[in-house]
């Protein structure tokens, strides 16, 4: 069992049968009152966020949640297949679970999968991914004056992102998987 001093970001607990992860917490203590921890939890199954005040001394049940480093192998329709490199076990995950970043996933990408009672409930991608630009119009010099300092580019995984005008087909670009934003050009 956990108590309030164990509360930290990312702690996985079981409440009313559901696995939650702590996303924010704040120590609160009125001068003459009891201490408690105002805690925001995210339901790992639904994504819903709830806030609860956990009194000092109150216990929290650990959730049977496990995280594993896994390698992304390939996509199969709307599903993504991952492999545990320690035992070569494969796991199939729907792209909804991955969210918007699914179109930035590249073969062999190292991801962290979260399992609740053996079932995958979350996939964490690396914050940045480096992808090759496969299609993009050449930048037009005059466009900068009008404030168009970016243009659309398609990368090898099929995602479309906004890149600076100097980016050409064949360039490697670093992309933030949280935001789909261009970060920088990687020299080969």
């Amino acid at each position: 069992m956990y108590d309030t001093s164990d509360i930290r970001k990312g702690l996985k607990v079981l409440m009313d049968g559901n696995p939650f992860t702590v996303i924010e917490f704040q120590f609160v203590k009125p001068g003459k009152g009891a201490a408690f921890t105002r805690t925001k939890f995210k339901n790992l199954l639904t994504g819903a966020v709830i806030e609860r005040n956990i009194r000092s001394g109150e216990k929290l049940e650990p959730a049977n949640v496990e995280t594993k480093d896994m390698q992304f192998l390939y996509r199969e329709g709307d599903d993504m297949v991952f492999m545990d490199q320690t035992n070569y076990e494969q796991v199939t995950v729907s792209k909804e679970l991955i969210g918007e970043a699914h179109d930035l996933m590249k073969d062999n990408m190292a991801c962290v999968l979260t399992f609740f009672n053996e079932r995958p409930v979350d996939v964490q991608l690396p914050t940045f991914v480096t992808l090759e630009v496969t299609a993009s119009e050449p930048g037009v010099a005059g466009n900068t004056a009008a404030g168009n300092v970016t243009k659309a580019a398609t990368v090898e995984t099929g995602a479309t992102i906004q890149v600076p005008l100097f980016i050409r087909v064949g360039d490697l670009v670093k992309i933030d998987t949280r935001t789909h934003e261009y970060n920088e050009r990687i020299s080969k």
């Binding site: 203590k29 003459k32 009152g33």
Partner: protein, 387 residues
């Protein structure tokens, strides 16, 4: 602002390294910086590293400039505090930090040290000084409270505590208002505190609200202090305030207080004195002569930060012993360590403590208010995580 760099080169054994900035976070800024962003530096970043010269590639954490500015501001605030007390003819005292009998308050945990404990506040010893004949005393000292860690809490923190013999809470309120206004003025140029990007007017006199009025106005709950915990919990539930069904009276009170009253007070653009606390929250305060259900106690709030707590001190040794024994009993019942009674304090009260009023004010929080720092860690030389 926090800067981190990667060491690129070491100049001989002078332990001076140059670092390329690769991670920059600017608090209170409209945008978020990311690695790879271009930044302009005032000068080349030079990191001084003590001890052996680091090997290139080692990571160095530099104390950010903003932190250094805050520590300079802290020193200025402390100088102003001493000036204010000197101008009001207070004597600065130093009482021991290591004591055999720490505060007995049910919600404070002392840190054990050697054969005794570190003080949770210097009040027992300062009251003995009042009994010994001093009339106006103040102290700036470290206090220790186990398991307190948050944006406004550190286990080791600095308290300003002062007492006036033969005086009442009105004089203490006046001291508090002037002290806070003067310290804020010394640091911001105006009698204004800064909290979360807002400015809070701390010009004396501050608005005064009784706890009962604040509870009925903001929580819709009439608190008497004589109702049972169950009755109070029923009132809370009627107003949709979350509270465990088996909560003690004080826990129920604070559930309502923190859910409704504190946010309302925090939103005010000026400082507030919250006074006349219900008897169950009297702690070491005397009851009102004409109203035995009310304790002569106040708390000072600035922008939602609880800055200080004051009592018109209980001077009756028998009543004090009864409350201490009650505190011990409550600690035992809740499975908490039971600290010994401070018999020397009780003896001093029995010998005669003049009618007195006193207050404890969090100095670190005062520095936060005067500088706009958002976390107590920002105004400490080194936080617990940095040791």
């Amino acid at each position: 602002m926090r800067t981190r760099g990667r060491v690129l080169a070491v100049d001989g054994d002078t332990a001076v390294v140059r670092a390329e900035l690769y991670d920059l976070r600017v608090t209170n800024a409209a945008r978020t910086w990311r690695p790879g962003d271009h930044v302009e530096l005032e000068s080349q970043q030079v990191l001084r590293v003590h001890g052996s010269a680091p090997t290139p590639g080692a990571e160095v954490l530099r104390m950010p400039r903003r932190r250094l500015d805050l520590l300079r501001a802290r020193a200025k605030a402390l100088a102003k505090v001493r000036e204010v007390f000197a101008a009001r003819s207070f004597l600065e005292v130093e009482t021991p930090l290591l004591v055999p009998a720490p505060g007995l308050e049910i919600h404070l945990e002392a840190v054990a040290a050697g054969s005794g404990y570190l003080i949770t506040s210097p009040e027992y010893q300062m009251k003995r000084l009042l009994a010994a004949g001093f009339e106006r005393i103040y102290q700036v000292c470290k206090c220790f409270r186990a398991n307190e860690r948050g944006a406004h809490h550190a286990s080791e923190f600095t308290m300003i505590e002062w007492y006036r013999a033969f005086d009442t809470l009105d004089a203490i309120i006046d001291d508090t208002e002037q002290l806070v206004a003067d310290v804020c003025h010394a640091l911001t140029g105006k009698p204004e505190a800064r909290v979360g990007g807002r400015t809070i007017d701390v010009t004396p006199p501050w608005q005064r609200i009784t706890v009962r009025d604040a509870m009925s106005e903001h929580a819709g709950i009439d608190v008497d202090g004589t109702e049972s915990a169950a009755e109070l919990i029923d009132k809370l539930r009627a107003w949709g305030i979350e509270c465990a069904p088996d909560a003690a009276w004080d826990d129920a009170f604070f559930a309502a207080y923190l859910a409704r009253v504190e946010p309302a007070i925090a939103a005010l653009p000026h400082a507030v004195i919250l006074h006349d606390w219900p008897l169950p929250l009297a702690a070491l305060a005397r009851t009102k002569p004409d109203d035995p259900k009310t304790a002569l106690r106040f708390e000072a709030y600035v922008g939602g930060i609880e800055l200080a707590n004051a009592f018109d001190e209980l001077t009756d040794a028998a009543e004090q012993r009864t409350r201490f024994l009650g505190d011990q009993e409550a600690r035992r019942a809740r499975g908490k360590p039971v600290y010994p009674l401070d018999e020397k304090l009780l003896a001093a009260l029995a010998e005669g403590l003049p009618p007195s009023a006193g207050i404890a004010l969090g100095f670190d929080r005062l520095v936060m208010l005067a500088t706009g720092a958002e976390k107590i860690d920002d105004v400490l030389t080194f936080s617990a995580d940095e040791l």
